[in-house]
């Protein structure tokens, strides 16, 4: 029983990170209507920038703020210089562009940081663990769970409660109408992509001390992010959060009893949900 409780806690912590990744991808898929295959690479860039920032300023917290902003700026550039030209071109061109971009980013990581993986320890104050009674748990993971939870909530509040959030949601529903109302839809696309990139970057930054860094780290996460988006309902924010948590917890619980299936369960859950609800958990269409 204590094992199960520990695993569920673990699943929530991991699931929050998945949700953060899925949320960014869902925003981009929903508003820009493109499959962003570079999302994993942006996640990796976020992690690497964090390590470089830590080495430069010697402070984890500053790095945690600065590095994701760097990824957001990268997102701005990518949207402005590349993706913007492909909105009318169809999914295959957008896919080729973002997929190519992910390869370029991964190779650039190798050029700058080298092909061999890197370890990054949590900040000193978050090293070690706490005895929660039923399990011993790393402080840093608890921090990630709370931080990711807050970020996901803040993003959701931004979309639900602010004027610009309402415009973005309207953009998901009907771009032409939003455009007709005199709103600069191109600027909204740029903001949405940068916001998605920022979320990927911050997920990368938070993940670095847990999983370490390697040039291929984005590929692993990209698959999961797509599962989260498909599972939650394309472009659905609440769906992405629920799907991230569902996958994280499913993985952890399965690992308690049948470790061999811990990767397969991600796809089994997706298949099972899509059979019952082809539109995803929270999808409407």
């Amino acid at each position: 029983m204590t094992l199960l409780a520990g695993q569920i806690l673990n699943g929530i912590a991991t699931g929050m990170l998945y949700a953060l990744m899925g949320l960014g991808l869902a925003l981009i898929a929903g508003i820009l209507n493109i499959p962003n295959f570079a999302h994993g690479a942006l996640f990796a860039v976020g992690a690497y920038l964090t390590v470089s920032a830590i080495n430069a300023v010697g402070n984890f917290w500053i790095a945690l703020v600065v590095a994701p902003l760097g990824v957001a700026v990268l997102g701005l550039v990518i949207e402005y210089a590349g993706i913007r030209r492909l909105y009318a071109a169809g999914h295959d061109y957008q896919l080729l562009f973002t997929f190519g971009l992910s390869l370029i980013l991964a190779e650039t990581i190798i050029l700058i940081w080298g092909p061999v993986g890197i370890s990054q320890l949590p900040p000193p104050i978050l090293r070690g663990g706490i005895d929660l009674g039923f399990t011993f748990y790393p402080k840093y993971r608890l921090f990630v769970m709370v931080a990711a939870g807050l970020l996901v909530t803040a993003t959701w509040l931004f979309l639900e409660k602010t004027r610009y959030g309402a415009i973005m949601r309207a953009g998901i529903e009907n771009k032409e109408m939003v455009s007709l109302l005199g709103i600069d839809i191109h600027r909204m696309f740029t903001v949405a992509f940068a916001l998605g990139a920022w979320l990927a970057g911050i997920a990368g930054a938070l993940t670095a001390p847990i999983r370490g860094l390697s040039p291929g780290m984005g590929v692993d996460m990209l698959g999961i992010a797509f599962v989260v988006v498909a599972l939650g309902g394309m472009g659905n924010v609440l769906g992405a959060i629920a799907a991230g948590l569902l996958i994280g917890v499913a993985q952890a619980v399965v690992a308690a009893y049948w470790t061999e299936a811990s990767v397969a369960v991600i796809y089994l859950v997706m298949a099972a949900v899509l059979v019952v609800r082809p539109q995803g958990l929270f999808g409407i269409r």
Binding site: T2, L3, G6, Q7, N10, G11, A13, T14, A29, G30, N33, P35, F37, H91, D92, L95, F99, P115, V116, G117, I118, S119, Q120, L121, P122, G128, G129, T135, F136, Y137, P138, Y140, R141, I172, P209, I210, R211, G212, S214, P215, G216, D220, F226, A230, M234, G235, Q251, A252, A255, A256, T259, E260, S262, V263, A264, Q279, R285
Partner: protein, 404 residues
């Protein structure tokens, strides 16, 4: 978004994941000796393939890309760490004239490639943890460079218990494929001699990235030791989580079958404390060939060579020694030469057991140094012991290696 578009995105995604191959047209002239290096550039061992390639190239360049006065044509293909892709790439290379091949890195994939070697009558050298290449599925065309999993298990368990006689409760974390199963079996077997109790043995998929679940289970078993049988990014990720969850350095961690320096430099010094490592090669090995190879490798690539480049380097040298000994580039003549080959190479004295095609050679056992004891950044570990006990006859499952 419409249903149609959503489906499109998913479909295109699936295509992108499965459909991308790397076409390569390369026809060798008949006087060339064509050697294939089947090294993964994508998939779970994407990080290892480029290192294998480095080692193989260095061995060929030492000989100016020539053997028996003939030019060597070295071709390399990406097997994508998948059996289907790897066998296809091997078949294509054979069609292009390759009669000698080395690789790939994953045991499970190599077993499939070994079948191609047998069917197409091509000499195949491999280094990895499955015992089947020189065991149940042995045949005349495939050779195993790595130590037998029995040799590895015996070296690691015996020497670890010598240093930690009280550590009897072991928790195992095992990569769930051919290599992991072989080693698990022999660790349990050798463990009997030491009265070990295995309080847990969890298997994880190759390419697992979320090890917290496993480590939490391990911690719940309250073991004296956590021993891992996994490799590369899996081993690094699991070692990191074992530290994050506060198990190491309180509880010693063993990497049973490590790449050596390449895995160790990915871990912060704090994580390496109380880490014990078994490996097919460590760069401070006290042999002439290792010293020379490590120096020139480090001059070229900055880090010292680990198991991946060293095995590719040494297998290539073995193959070339086979040509020299046979004085011929006829596949079967080279195989006969290798079957009785004795060579002093990177790990020390090695020879091939002609009856099984298993290379008999030393296996290394290391203890990582605490941060304070490290003299420089790469002073990661001491070689505590080496062991070369061969697989006892009663376990040998290669009964008859057969003819050509």
């Amino acid at each position: 978004m419409s249903q149609q578009k959503r489906r499109d995105i998913l479909k295109i995604g699936a295509l992108a994941v499965t459909g991308l191959g790397f076409p390569a047209i390369l026809r060798a002239q008949s006087k060339d000796i064509v050697i294939l290096g089947l090294w993964d550039q994508t998939g779970a061992y994407a990080d290892v393939g480029p290192l294998n390639d480095r080692g193989m190239r260095m061995a060929l360049e030492e000989r100016d890309m020539k053997v028996l006065g003939k030019p060597i044509k070295y071709i390399t293909r990406d097997g994508a760490t998948q059996a289907g892709v790897s066998t296809r790439r091997a078949e294509e290379a054979i069609d292009e004239g390759a009669r000698f091949m080395i690789g790939p890195w994953s045991s499970g994939v190599a077993l499939a490639v070994s079948e191609v070697a047998k069917r197409r009558k091509v000499l195949h050298l491999f280094s990895g943890g499955t015992e089947d290449i020189s065991g149940a599925r042995c045949h005349r065309y495939s050779f195993q460079w790595a130590a037998s999993p029995y040799t590895a298990a015996k070296t690691v368990v015996d020497n670890f218990m010598k240093a930690n006689p009280g550590a009897k409760r072991w928790h195992l974390l095992i990569a769930d494929y051919a290599f992991g199963w072989s080693l698990e079996k022999y660790i349990k077997e050798v463990g009997k001699d030491h009265g070990l109790e295995f309080v847990g043995a969890d298997r994880h998929p190759l390419g697992e990235r979320e090890f917290s679940n496993y480590v939490q289970k391990a911690a719940a078993n309250r073991p004296d030791v956590v021993a891992m049988v996994n490799f590369g990014a899996d081993a690094v990720g699991a070692a990191r989580e074992t530290f994050n969850f506060g198990l190491t350095p309180k509880v010693p961690l063993i990497m049973t079958w490590s790449s050596g320096v390449e895995e160790l430099i990915q871990l912060a010094p704090e994580i390496r404390e109380n880490l014990w490592v078994g490996s097919n090669f460590y760069y401070t090995a006290d042999t002439t060939v290792a010293k020379r190879f490590a120096a020139s490798y480090q001059a070229k690539f900055k880090t010292p060579p680990g198991y991946a480049p060293s095995s590719a380097y040494s297998m290539t040298r073995m193959l070339l020694a086979g040509f020299d000994k046979a004085k011929s580039d006829d596949t079967q003549a080279v195989i006969r030469a290798l079957e009785t080959l004795q060579i002093n190479d990177v790990v020390g004295p090695m020879h091939v057991d002609g009856a099984t095609h298993q290379t008999l050679r030393p296996y290394f056992f290391l203890r990582c140094k605490p941060k304070a004891a490290m003299k420089h950044e790469l002073d990661l570990a001491d070689i505590v012991a080496t062991g070369d006990t061969p697989l006892p006859k009663e376990y040998a499952s290669c009964k008859d290696i057969g003819g050509f």
